[in-house]
Point group: C2
Chain length 310, copies 2
Amino acid sequence: MKQIQIVEVGLRDGLQNEKSMIGVPERVQSVLELLAAGLTRIELGAYVHPKRVPQMAGTLEVVNEVLAKTQHRKGFSVLIPNDRGYDDFLRAPVPEIAIFASATEKFSQKNINCSIEESFERFQVVVRRAKKDKIKVRGYLSMCFGCPYEGEVDPKKVVGLVQRLLRLGCYEVSIGDTIGVASPDGVIRLIRLLKKAKIPMNRIAGHFHDTRGTALANIYAAYREGIHIFDTSLGGLGGCPYAPGASGNVSTEDVVYMFQRSGLMKKIDLQKLIDLNKKMSVWLGKELPSKVGKAGTWPSHQHLDPSSSA
Amino acid sequence: MKQIQIVEVGLRDGLQNEKSMIGVPERVQSVLELLAAGLTRIELGAYVHPKRVPQMAGTLEVVNEVLAKTQHRKGFSVLIPNDRGYDDFLRAPVPEIAIFASATEKFSQKNINCSIEESFERFQVVVRRAKKDKIKVRGYLSMCFGCPYEGEVDPKKVVGLVQRLLRLGCYEVSIGDTIGVASPDGVIRLIRLLKKAKIPMNRIAGHFHDTRGTALANIYAAYREGIHIFDTSLGGLGGCPYAPGASGNVSTEDVVYMFQRSGLMKKIDLQKLIDLNKKMSVWLGKELPSKVGKAGTWPSHQHLDPSSSA
């Protein structure tokens, strides 16, 4: 069985959907502790407009400080919306950038103020520069299983856009259930269409939100269909702008717990992730949704004494 | 594909693990609203000692009032720990009782103050009476995937106890991940052993707690292996006595959402369950863990207008 890969997106997709903000030192410390726990693929931030996404302000400082404090490089990435973002990126380059497209027109307009077609024109410029600089490009495709504006999304349309992102030069495309509406059967249906289109499974990642509690079931179903790369967020950082009070990103701890207990992921120190969860919770002034964060890992080193009252 | 059956255990397994208690009228109203939402298998309470489980006091009144207010009968059940509980049960009989055994000695001692062997002797008396009275008997087997006192549990031991409960006269045995430590692969391993032992899958139910976020993944994995009956709890009522602050039972709304969106369960009115969740939340003075309860169902009847700010 292929070992599971985690792409930690809490410091970007997570934090950008939190009301409270944390500073550069806390973000740097988080990266270092994620590395210490054994995670290797980490999104460090985004070069987006600080007025639009104030939580990502200071990304350049975060990247610079992280690069000063660790020898780790491979697996670090930063989100880039456009050509100007790529200029920022070049001031502290890491081996990888991520770009993001939408599977629905209405969300594309709402999220990045342009049509899907126009967004691909923008990406082309960025990807061309990245290729020249030998920077890997990862693609996010959002709203693959449902859109708050268009409702159900045709999986064939998703397959077409995944192919387009791969042709554009993305080495990996992350298919997103951005509002957490997918069910395992829908996930299987889309993955089978991707396979039918001859898209290799090692170029696809799953990005599932837990808004309706189905993320781990969706991830497990995707894994059974051949996907082994998943985006997760420490503590389940990040909410859902379309369902106030609901959770967003699936929690790293819960996903790691599920796969480690199945013997499919061995090198992650879950306790270190839980410790970082607790710190993050203090920094943000809120409890994070991760269930493993609350219940702890298992098996515990010491079992309870039956004579004690529980 | 076989349609999914839900056994609603929130008013028993859920409430008995909540610190706050709700009165008989609220419990009666809950049963009626669960029926109105389309659920048919509902555990009404337990005839246990009110000093040991104060939340279940008034079960006789709940049963009597429910029976006075609806013609529904089939699918109602009450938990019975022993012969004396069966006497209580006879004062307001419903078509089904449930008994509960443990897969580990230490939990059996701790939970019901006797060895597994002794517990089966007690059950024998109850089951003999139930058979005579034409009352169906359902068996719970707890700690099938891990025990807070013994750690890992041998699945072969679980298979032996399931067989024993079936031989004793249980028409269905619910295998419990009582402390929420199972992973999908462990679930699959146990179910395959059950099948190897020639136990028919329609006599097995899955009872998964969401303490570490894996319940829906475990349920989905069990479903793929042939299980189609699952115990769930409205709103995710009930915590975990071994992990304070953690969640316990998997939420009915989340399980119904997952299977309805997959077209495997059509007759449940999810919105009515969410409405009851909100009432229960007021009665108990706490937010319930169900994610669908917070985020709402999908597809929503009306999609958002992209020109609005979300």
